[in-house]
Subunit: 124 residues, 2 copies
Amino acid sequence: MNTLYQNHLIRVEIETSEIPWLKIFSVQPYKEFSQCDPDTKVAILQALDVIEKAMLQTFQPAKINIASFGNYLPQVHFHIMARFNNDSFFPEPMWGKKQREGQLALELTAFYQTMAKTLAQHCG
Amino acid sequence: MNTLYQNHLIRVEIETSEIPWLKIFSVQPYKEFSQCDPDTKVAILQALDVIEKAMLQTFQPAKINIASFGNYLPQVHFHIMARFNNDSFFPEPMWGKKQREGQLALELTAFYQTMAKTLAQHCG
């Protein structure tokens, strides 16, 4: 477990990667997003918004990627990733065909420390 | 262009596939979801909700998948896909490694016809 933030509705975890990559889980074991209670939906969307803006501001990535699959783990969780022209998979999704050996050297630890504080401020 | 529904905020297109697969675009050329105006955000989320519920009710899929990448086309659009244990890629994402020759025979045309009406009812 690599939990960055948790409240009574959502839990945010770090995915270890060359890129900034966070996962937002519902605390309740909902299978699909449309089945979440309204408060959980809002909490997930608010966290997505806060994280995306922080990634854009901190890293100026080529693109933000958002995904919610859950085919292996059928519980609601959203991936949010900052993508770069020279990461190992761009422009393919992170689940696609590897394009190159990525040479990114991003300050991920500092970003996640700040992100934990920002989530606590914005998401209670 | 394979447009199923459009209003002044969003456009819903069909992705030709063995699975039920729709794409929701913002009409305005926003690059990132967090940069959308509030009305566009709500319209996208409302369409996602309506489509996901219709896919669940009609097909009883193993899982719904949602994704917003835009690495090739940097304009906000969300993919929403109904996934099945025997589709060609499950449990990998539709952008992952092919697992088998899928043998689905779903009534997609009828679903999309009904979906167009449902979107018009719920999304104005």
